[in-house]
Amino acid sequence: MSEWRYWLNEQRGTLMGLAIFLLMFAVYIANHPAGLTANVAQTAANKGVLFAFVAMAQTLVVITAGIDLSVGMIFILTNCLASWIVVGEPLPTALGVVAVLAAGMVCGAINGLLVIYGRLQPIVATIATGAVYFGLALLLRPFPGGSVNEDLADALTGRLFGVIPSSLVALAAAVVLVWLPFRRSRLGRAAYAAGSSEQAAFMSGVPIRRGKFAAYTLAGLLAAMGGLFLTFFTYTGEAAYASGSGYTLWSIAAVVLGGVSLYGGRGSAVGAIFGAFAARTTGDMLFVFDVDPLWQPLLQGVVLMIAVSIGSLALLRVRNRLDWFQ
């Protein structure tokens, strides 16, 4: 096999996610009454980016063969926090942003500590911490309200040079500043290794615990970025339980669509971003097609079902039935 074949093999999941997204987005745009205008792109970008942050956060944890069922709640908690402190003059605003991101990291770190040092199963540990984070969000925002520095908010949800949605730029910055360094670092490698085979990683002297801890903590950071963006997008904070759990569950769908293996060790946050945008587009389809409103939820379910089933086409290629079992 030549080098590029190996490259293709490594990136297959990500490319699959990209393909699904492009396909859906093309269908969406083709049927959109306004077509691909700057406004439409900006709307799609803003909506997708929020979710992409949460999906990236989920990816980091899923890579370690864990799962974070509290991402959505961290997202909500940081949204509520940001609606208090990301206000005022540039300096306090900046400090507020830092504090919000730090809060997200703390939440992620707590998850990490429970899973790694408490040796709890991630699913249940994060169900429990998710409840705690939501409780804190409710304490911060018993009812919707608050505000945010609107200049900053408009800048980050607006457009650069009149065409490029600035939220996409922010997302790219997160990829470059958080994801790529993580992936190329020793800790990131450790996170992958631990997810792929914890036993083997341990015996190879990989710093498993630090790697996983970094993954959980950075997941908290990314979720907090999502929370910040939610605040920028809505100018307010709201402790919405349903939307927190919705983001959590859909983030799992997004990572799978983006080619990240739920069994750990495989996949990329970039893929998850495409997965997130693809998942968002399933909702947009309802907008462009004239479906009876009561049939919309069903249609969305069916589209999701089809999207997640696409991966099983690969089954047709399986010639050794033992390959069914991972």
Binding site: T37, P142, G283
Partner: protein, 350 residues
């Protein structure tokens, strides 16, 4: 965009201003027929389903249909950004008016700005928008709490032990109603011992919470619940709790109980606003597009029925679903849907 004018509104009985200082809008007249969109959020509960059915039924009424080129409904779920984006998309696609049941009253600042710039009429109802730049078709949520508390105070002049079954935490509707209740009690100067449990506007949850509260606190002198009321009464019956005065919502099942057990002490005040308010919102949107004067904030009348006035076939429907929300008449607006019209709307499709 709209001109701020002085009242009264075009149909003053229907488009009643919220308060004395409410502004009035006069949008530039557009020629019909119009493209109107309904941006709904959550859909999977009876209230919302009924609301959408009503909206479709209203838009299909011949005199309304004549004015509409297109009526499109999109439900985006619980996620606020998705709803905001849907509205943005409607604006970009050139709809004339957008009717919205907002997931969050404070989150729509930027989109309201955009609608204004684009000259799109934005009308919010049920969960309204925290703004002066869009039209709100308002339900007085806090007033509802006040009403219930007053009802209880009337029946319990000396105060007493009250069970308050609350809604979904973190929402403004829950908070407003709760505040209304407590402020009113406090104003009476009597001693009220209020036990709060959370029913999440959901019958089974409310029923469980009520059953537990009764098991531990034994008896209450009065009850108020802001949703899931059928479950609350069911729990009382199951536990053999004596019937007491009750201030609650407008579910059909609750009213059935109220009518049946009134003589045993279940003295109810059933108040709220049915899902038919969506029709008022659409009517307002059309009026605004036609260049008529409308208030920025419209006060919807509450559909109130109080003991002993529960009438079968008008205030409640014995053979309709318990989950059905009654109170779909806004006579001042010429809107009156019967249960059959709403729930049976597509029966012929079967």
């Amino acid at each position: 965009e709209p001109e701020i004018v002085s009242g009264p509104a075009a149909e003053p009985e229907c488009f009643a201003p919220w308060a004395a200082e409410t502004k009035f809008f006069k949008f530039p007249k557009k020629d019909g027929p119009y493209r109107i969109a309904l941006a709904n959020g959550f859909i999977a509960n009876t209230w919302r389903i009924q609301m959408i059915q009503t909206a479709k039924a209203y838009a299909a009424q011949p005199d309304v249909a004549a004015k509409l080129k297109e009526f499109k409904v999109v439900s985006t779920g619980e996620d606020v950004p998705a709803q905001i984006s849907a509205i943005n998309n409607f604006i970009d696609s050139g709809y004339d008016a957008i009717v919205v049941n907002a997931q969050n009253p404070t989150a729509f600042g930027p989109v309201i700005k955009r609608a204004k710039e684009a000259g799109v009429v934005l009308v919010a109802f049920d969960n309204i928008l925290d703004t002066e730049d869009a039209i709100n078709v308002n339900v007085d949520q806090k007033g509802l709490g006040v009403l219930w508390a007053n009802w209880l105070a009337k029946h319990l002049p000396e105060g007493g032990k009250i069970l308050e079954v609350r809604g979904v935490a973190g929402t403004s509707v829950d908070t407003d109603r709760h505040n209304g209740i407590h402020e009113t009690f406090a104003a009476t100067g009597k001693k009220w011992d209020v036990v709060e449990v959370i029913g999440k506007w959901d019958d089974p949850t409310a029923q469980k919470a009520t059953a537990d509260a009764i098991a531990v606190h034994k008896t209450f002198d009065g009850i108020t619940a802001q949703g899931g009321d059928t479950g609350v009464v069911q729990a009382m019956i199951d536990a053999g709790h004596p019937f007491v005065p009750f201030g609650g919502e407008t579910e059909n099942g609750f009213r059935k109980f109220c009518a049946k057990h009134a003589s045993e002490g279940l003295k109810c005040s059933s108040a709220g606003t049915g899902p038919a308010q969506v029709a008022v919102a659409i009517k307002t949107a059309i009026a605004a597009l036609e260049g008529q004067v409308v208030p920025q904030s419209i006060k919807l009348p509450l559909a109130i029925v109080e003991d002993p006035n529960f009438k079968e076939g008008q205030d409640y429907y014995p053979d309709q679903s318990d989950n059905f929300f009654v109170g779909n008449a806004f006579p001042t607006c010429g809107i009156n849907f019967t249960a059959q019209e709403i729930m049976g709307q597509s029966k012929e499709n079967q």
